[in-house]
């Protein structure tokens, strides 16, 4: 259906700088590769292109004499289309850095292309913790979140409040598998048990059959190891089939602001999940959200959009400091420089490419607690940066020595 939909959006910020001798074509080209039209388009998609543009504006590339151009493309959630587009971008469009790429399946393929071509990959959309684990590359930064952090945040919180038996509804591809694996590890470690799981195809409309299997399993917790449109439909239909009124509880392992918006508070209230960023936490976030929403048809930014903004900003700083756009060198510089930006504050990037920051456990507000659209979360707990991500030596990343 989507063959004809590869939309190329382009926004150029051009100036005539000459100070950067080592920069190929005297131009930094950012390729935002995302799901522009499918089930993940709201949580990344065109909003990620906008976030990258805002980062370029705030970096004041023009004022610093750096030529920066942004293009966007649709990978349609297909690994072959995504990696082909990435290859074309790098070979013929001279793209230096690929950003976002929600859908871990596509992201793992793109990471290989980027490594072969020695460019940079700023992963924000994808979740699989393999990107900084067994599949880590010296050209890759994983910024916003990953499956280990989600499992650690949500899984821990739920098992510790008594949710001992679990049944998974898992999206049947790299992301779902990684999320189920990482959450299962957390459950087992805390003395819980996984009594079953069912793997559904990506982009499923009807979840009733899977929910019925979850119901029959009598597990206390139905864990949703899926994302975007799949999460929305499974939560909505779980409420229709009386999963919660029947005594089971839902654990949305990956829930975005746009998912809650699409579900409405009446259905989503009480859900607990882990996120890296929420707009209504401090003045800087609020200011960014307002500015973003004004240019995004009123839709507020998700944590992925915030991550795209912050990672592009840090990338440009590293390029400026290095006066070069060589892939490995820039990524090494990004890891060496401490990160600081308005949205994620101060942080670091580890040798395996993992950006380290606080994660937050949120609960969705009840309809009467919300002051209006987009006022959806209340903070349950902050997971400090040191505990939020998988310990460096447990990921099996070849870049980590010893």
């Amino acid at each position: 259906m989507k063959l004809l939909r590869t939309a190329i959006v382009s926004a150029a910020v051009l100036s005539a700088g000459t100070a950067y001798g080592q920069i190929s074509d005297n131009l930094i080209k950012i390729g935002v590769l995302s799901d522009m039209s499918g089930l993940y388009a709201d949580l990344g998609g065109p909003g990620s292109v906008l976030a990258a543009r805002l980062a370029v504006e705030d970096f004041d590339a023009k004022g610093k004499g750096l030529n920066v151009e942004i293009i966007g493309g649709d990978h349609q959630n297909k690994a072959d289309i995504g990696s082909n587009l990435a290859r074309t971008w790098i070979d013929t469009e001279k793209v230096d850095v690929i950003v976002d790429v929600p859908n871990s399946g596509v992201a793992l393929a793109v990471a290989e292309v980027v490594r072969d071509k020695n460019k940079v990959f700023l992963a924000n959309g994808p979740a699989s913790s393999d990107l900084t684990g067994a599949k880590c590359t010296p050209n890759n930064i994983h910024w916003t979140y990953d499956t280990w952090a989600l499992a650690n945040g949500t899984g821990n919180a739920i098992v510790k409040t008594g949710g001992k038996t679990w049944f998974f509804l898992t999206a049947d591809y790299a992301f779902g598998h990684a999320l189920e694996r990482d959450t299962t590890a957390v459950i087992n470690k805390n003395g819980g048990k996984v009594v079953g799981s069912v793997r559904h195809p990506l982009n499923t409309q009807d979840f009733s059959s899977f929910l019925l299997q979850a119901q029959a399993s009598k597990a206390q917790i139905v864990g949703l190891a899926n994302a975007g449109g799949d999460t929305i439909n499974s939560i909505k239909q779980a409420s229709e089939f009386g999963i919660v009124s029947g005594g089971q509880n839902l654990a949305g392992l990956l829930v975005f602001l746009t998912d809650v918006h699409a579900l409405g508070l009446k259905t989503a209230q009480g859900l607990i999940f882990t996120e890296a960023w929420y707009w209504d936490m401090n003045d800087a976030n609020r200011a960014f959200a307002k500015r973003f929403a004004a240019q995004n048809g009123g839709k507020y930014p998700t944590m992925i959009h915030a991550g795209v903004y912050a990672s592009v900003l840090h990338y440009l700083k590293a390029v400026q400091a290095l006066k070069s756009d060589d892939g490995k060198a820039v990524v090494a510089k990004m890891k060496e420089m401490p990160t600081e930006d308005p949205l994620f504050g101060k942080g670091t990037i580890r040798v395996d490419g993992r950006h380290i920051h606080d994660m937050y456990l949120f609960e969705v507000k009840k309809p009467d607690e919300s002051k209006g659209p987009w006022d959806y979360y209340k903070l349950r707990a902050t997971i400090p940066a040191a505990e939020a991500f998988r310990p460096l030596n447990e990921g099996n990343c070849p870049l980590v020595k010893g």
């Binding site: 089930l39 049947d172 793997r199 982009n203 019925l212 449109g229 929305i232």
Partner: protein, 296 residues
């Protein structure tokens, strides 16, 4: 005993069969509209998914901006979207009847992409919630499963509409005119029947059926621009399996494929979105005209 062999408790199996029937009722309703349009107009209506999506959005707009509830939307939305279909037919489709099927397919496919793109621009891809009517919230505990009232309503409503449509086309005088007009329009015109108008109204009716399915789907799935795109391919497979243009074929195949898909979700969930196409391949190899199609 057979249940032990399959390794699935009978309760679960009954539940899945019932769910399959429910999903099948959407397939049936949508493929029915497609079959009517193809049978009478020879147009492969690829905009059917988008028109289904329009029906759901129409119900949402009616509720949001006019306070019109679900029950009225069930009647108004198909009429509004059907009227839109009539405009499409008058403006574009009527020029294509003499050409190859492919032209109609390309035109309607393009229309579908444009419509979905416009709605995605304004409403995003995640969609908007739409609550089921008060009367149909809650559900029945059947012992082997929990059946939401709303889903029971969908099966009953869809079956009724399907059978009424079949009856109208196969058993009434109006239906006889329609069928005659597709066989030999010139002759039917000679009897003083306004064939072009009848064709236009038929297209409007087929589109209205899609919109009706859209309204019924709104409380189950989120009202989203993609809701039709993900369904339309499956529905086309249903029509092809049933036999292009066969009304009863579309209905029976719609329900039975819903059930087969439901069973796949129990035994091999990963394959649940491909099983229908596997069946399509087998049917096309053995009976190229489809299960209920007439070879002409």
């Amino acid at each position: 005993m057979i249940f032990d062999l399959l390794g699935v408790p009978p309760q679960a199996l009954f539940g899945q069969l019932l769910l399959g029937l429910i999903n099948g009722s959407f397939y049936a309703l949508l493929s029915l509209g497609l079959a009517v349009i193809f049978g009478m107009l020879n147009i492969i209506n690829f905009a059917h998914g988008a028109q289904y999506m329009l029906g759901a959005f129409c119900a949402y707009f009616l509720l949001q901006f006019a306070g019109i509830n679900y029950w009225l939307a069930l009647i108004i939305a198909p009429i509004v979207v059907g009227a839109f279909g009539i405009v499409l037919e008058r403006l574009f489709l009527k020029h294509l009847y003499k050409l190859d099927h492919l032209y109609g397919l390309l035109l309607t496919f393009g229309i579908a992409l444009i419509l979905e793109g416009i709605f995605r621009r304004y409403f995003g891809s995640s969609g908007i919630p739409y609550s089921p009517p008060q009367l149909l919230t809650g559900g029945y505990n059947l012992g082997f499963m929990y059946l939401p009232k709303y889903r029971a309503w969908v099966v009953i409503c869809s079956l009724t509409v399907c059978l009424l449509t079949w009856f109208m086309i196969e058993k009434t005088r109006l239906g006889a005119y329609l069928r005659a007009a597709t066989e030999n329009p010139t002759l039917v015109r000679a009897f003083g029947i306004n064939v072009p108008r009848m064709i236009t109204l038929t297209y409007g009716f087929g589109v209205g059926l899609a919109a009706l399915a859209g309204v019924m789907a709104a409380p189950i799935y989120n009202v989203s621009p993609q809701m039709g795109a993900s369904l339309i391919i499956v529905v086309f497979a249903v029509v092809v399996i049933g036999g292009m243009g066969s009304i009863m074929g579309a209905i029976v195949t719609g329900f039975s494929l819903g059930i087969i898909e439901g069973l796949t979700k129990v035994f091999f969930p990963q394959a649940s979105n491909t099983v229908i196409f596997v069946i399509m391949v087998i049917v096309l190899l053995t009976r190229p005209a489809g299960l209920f199609g007439r070879t002409t």
